[in-house]
Symmetry: C3
Subunit: 208 residues, 3 copies
Amino acid sequence: MRFYYFEMVGTAVFAITGVLAVTRRGLDVFGALVLGIVTALGGGTVRDLIIGAPPFWISDFNYVSAASAGALAAFWIGSLFRDAYRGLLYLDALGAALFAITAANKVLSLNLSAPVAVTMGILTGIGGGLIRDVLAGRPTLLMSREIYATPILMGCVAFVLLYGATPPVPYAAAIGFTIIFGVRALAIYRHLEMPAWLTHRDRSDGDR
Amino acid sequence: MRFYYFEMVGTAVFAITGVLAVTRRGLDVFGALVLGIVTALGGGTVRDLIIGAPPFWISDFNYVSAASAGALAAFWIGSLFRDAYRGLLYLDALGAALFAITAANKVLSLNLSAPVAVTMGILTGIGGGLIRDVLAGRPTLLMSREIYATPILMGCVAFVLLYGATPPVPYAAAIGFTIIFGVRALAIYRHLEMPAWLTHRDRSDGDR
Amino acid sequence: MRFYYFEMVGTAVFAITGVLAVTRRGLDVFGALVLGIVTALGGGTVRDLIIGAPPFWISDFNYVSAASAGALAAFWIGSLFRDAYRGLLYLDALGAALFAITAANKVLSLNLSAPVAVTMGILTGIGGGLIRDVLAGRPTLLMSREIYATPILMGCVAFVLLYGATPPVPYAAAIGFTIIFGVRALAIYRHLEMPAWLTHRDRSDGDR
């Protein structure tokens, strides 16, 4: 169950959004390349190290090439993308959904437990962005109220619950994928944030 | 030589202190969950990757559950813990002592060398907190004068020196554990800091 | 093809430059030790995890000892080094060249592909410094215009192109090494920066 060409597009889009997220700060072409590659491949690499598999891009360098192409495109013609930034957010949501479900499926196919599959799905979906933000000196996703990881959690839980149940695996994957993309797209479209009661704020809210 | 229930309590406490350390900044429930899990399990995960063992929580998800419970408790009823924060620091010291000695013992039982065991003991004790601080955008332990890693270093050195010597391993472990907890508890109780002659300060001390 | 004593000197120099880069901020002796070790050994450790080899310092603790000696020397008698800081930059360039080519050679000798070898050469050369900057709360190399990674990229590409070609491997290594050191030394000597057209700056340049 691999969606090779989708994965390549998703990898390139992850790299593009990764670079666009930081080019407003000073950044040279090499830094852009590294940040784009890290955003696109970082989460899956950590996942593979943890589950004891060789990193997925070691035996197929097309992933690195796709990420490099996306990063360079964002660096050179980023202003074009910037006008279409909200469109890219939807593509990014597609990529996150694809990678999270692929990761959960990979973990389950190695006979690891369902909770590990959910954990690795989330890690693959958000890990690359976390590493990028740390390397770029930006506040990470974890410190914001953006609704990014919650849809991934929901979709991965649905997928592992359905996996091995009545519907065949591709159907389970499609359902998990749809949940992730649907909830995330709704959050982008409606500018949703985590509700206040699910967020701690400093009493002196102005200090950030 | 495993202290299963102690380990679960230690894991939950690590997650609690991890979340309490950052909730003063804006943080939603998902971010709290990730930071709590990372604080509790991050150091041991890096240790296992380095020594080539499968991460300890892959085959026993109770560790992740304990960390999640601690993180959610700290998020929802954190104000209760905050009143008992100094009490938690002592529990945290117990957890650090337990994890460091367990790590050193795990490394020695794999027939790796004593210096590697000390290194991995320290990494397990402080690694999770370092990753949390980086993800949360806080200055790390390394940039402060808190006496946290030094007791771990002392206790692990004592443990590896005694390991395989006259006293049986559990006694060596108890001695190492007592050193770590004792020195750390003293530092908490007396508000000790690293002495000035062991600290570099900028000439213009005011700039931080 | 190992240059054992050069590697030890290179390791110590990496640790020295790593500590000197942060001692202007508050730092105690333990923090200096960790940052020095991480700078010297971090890149190679990540490389080994990714290619599935045991971290190189696990079976030979001399690397950690050399890094510790360098870190402590920089902490205690750092003012001596500071006067010779530009001299150290050249030594650091030698170390980066040595480690990058050694890494690329290690990857190729495991029959992994040439692009992976280049990627791992760069990672080994810059990875330790990236981790140090993140732990120390400094802007990373990626956000600066320093010419550090580009020579490594050039030298590693030259090495993998020549590897297995007409000249024997040691010659290919010497050529790659010379390119890295030569370009980097030129950049240090002439205070070169990445040219403006290879750098994105915020329109409001003053905000950093």
